[in-house]
């Protein structure tokens, strides 16, 4: 690994000032992606500012019955929080279906939001990759792209977003609270994740030195009936080929309210707004679920190896909706 300097921030202000004032520096939280990518030569900071001593680990209910998750809360702690399990099961399930217990013990929630793609051309450190070296081209478009995205892609990048919990948070309209050199901001999570467009190297609207301090989930009673369904090449410890976060409120056989998001298929955690619009007010039937799923995947663009994700995502959406509505185990 290339040489690094290290400092431990003792206050949030100190961390922001240090990273904000030095373009060679980066925050260090759980390190599960960051240390990996530095060792691979993909990212090249000279200074790491360790933020793990900062008081940003609380998981608490907000006065309006929402949820506030400190940016340094570990994935394990959020997943095992009795309050999260009861009121936001989709968040707990998404966390527990991601990574391994060791990684979940290390990885922070703020860090998870900044997780980088698993695209092998990004990670190999040498292939042309617009995300790693802007302007060099995308090796995946005409390369091995079985794991890549079918929604939200551009000519410059088709890398799939790897997060599981990000999918649940996007479904629930979470808000990302930050502090930075220009003060405090609250960013709706769907705006926090940027589409690649012509600048895939820019993944978030954060300025230098801007630090995620908390993730807030608004009060969402329908989330008590929610689930995360994930399909992958192995039974455990693998990134999603397709995943679905779903929460549905059914009244008198009709969909009164619904939240749906997809993982594994988008260049960002993918809020399924087309499907939500198709479902809302309509019958809670498998036929309606299938029509809504088809509407969501209608703009999908397949490449050489990943066309299978489109029907797989449709079926996964139907199954997730069916399970959350009917409590159907299969």
């Amino acid at each position: 690994m290339r040489p690094l300097s290290y400092t431990r921030a003792s206050t949030v202000d100190e961390a922001i000032a240090t990273v904000g004032g030095d373009s060679r520096s980066a925050f260090l939280a759980g390190g599960t992606t960051e240390i990996d990518l530095i060792r691979l030569g993909v990212t090249r900071p000279d200074v790491l500012v360790d933020i793990n001593s900062l008081p940003l680990k609380e998981i608490e209910s907000t006065p309006d019955a929402g949820l506030r998750i400190g940016a340094l809360a570990r994935m394990t702690d959020v997943a095992r929080s009795a309050d999260v399990v009861r009121r936001f099961p989709v968040i707990s399930q998404a966390l527990l279906l991601g990574a391994s217990e060791q990684l979940r013990n290390m990885a922070s929630m703020g860090g998870n939001l900044c997780q980088r793609t698993r695209c092998p051309y990004f990670r190999d450190g040498v292939s042309p990759c617009n995300k790693r070296e802007p302007g060099t081209g995308c090796s995946a478009v005409d390369g091995l792209n079985r794991g890549h995205a079918v929604l939200g892609t551009s000519d410059d990048c088709i890398a799939a977003h790897p997060s599981d919990v990000g999918v649940a948070l996007v479904a629930l309209d979470a808000v990302v609270h930050t502090l930075g050199p220009s003060g405090a901001r609250s960013i709706p999570i769907d705006d926090f994740y940027l589409l690649p467009g012509s600048s895939p190297e820019v993944e978030h609207p954060l300025e230098r030195g801007e630090l995620i301090v908390a993730i807030e989930v608004p009060p969402t009673p329908l989330a008590e009936r929610s689930l995360y369904l994930k399909f992958r090449d192995r039974q455990s410890y693998e990134f999603a080929l397709v995943s679905v976060a779903a929460a549905v409120d059914v009244r008198d056989g009709r969909v009164a309210d619904v939240r749906l998001a997809l993982g594994g298929v988008g260049t960002k955690p993918w809020r399924a707004r087309r499907a939500e619009a198709a479902l809302t007010g309509g019958p809670a039937t498998r036929e309606a679920f299938a029509e809504a799923a088809a509407a969501e995947l209608e703009p999908a663009i397949a490449h050489k190896d990943n066309a299978f994700k489109i029907p797989m995502a449709r079926r996964a959406m139907v199954r997730a909706l069916d399970q959350v509505v009917n409590g159907d185990a299969r």
Partner: protein
């Protein structure tokens, strides 16, 4: 700010304090193996995929290859070398021998550090749970059935570490 040159670092490993000099880029795994001669923790992938380097930091199982040693100052590190009590193996170590839960042995220290943690976490009630919560430890010899048997044995022998708290 320290580094990139070597700087003094104080590490507490298996209850013993070590004052050593390290570059900040050194991983906890390399510090244990190359600076403290604690070679029980293994380097398999060095990218957080295999689990062979599993140790505990403050009693939580983590991956030593993705942890910077310098970031562990002020924390308690536990490795496989600290698991036995004097000459008595930890029950999970004994169960791995009894159940023949390894072939080449390279992943074994990570498997055992993970398994002991799993039993404390209380998520080992069924084989499915054991498989799920041990999935971060790969065994290329595929000794998984015997590893699960060893974990079951310890779970069932000691009600204080049973599958459900």
């Amino acid at each position: 700010m320290i580094g990139p040159a070597r700087a003094p670092v104080s590490m507490r490993v298996n209850g013993e304090i070590h004052e050593i000099e390290l570059e900040p880029r050194v991983s906890l795994l390399d510090a244990l193996r190359d600076h403290l001669s604690l070679t029980g923790s293994k380097k398999g992938c060095d990218q957080g995929t295999c689990g062979a380097c599993t140790v505990w930091v403050d009693d939580r199982r983590v991956l030593a290859c993705l942890t910077l040693a310098v970031a562990c100052e002020g924390h308690e590190i536990s490795t496989i070398e600290g698991l036995a009590t004097g000459g008595d193996l930890h029950p999970v170590q004994s169960a791995f021998i009894e159940r023949d839960a390894f072939q080449c042995g390279y992943c074994t220290s990570g498997q055992i550090m993970s398994a002991v943690a799993l039993l404390k976490e209380g998520n080992a009630a069924t084989d499915e749970e054991i498989a799920e919560h041990m999935s971060g430890n790969l065994c290329r010899c595929a000794a998984y059935p015997h590893i699960r048997a060893a974990i079951r044995d310890v779970r069932d022998a000691d009600t204080t570490t049973s599958g459900r708290a």
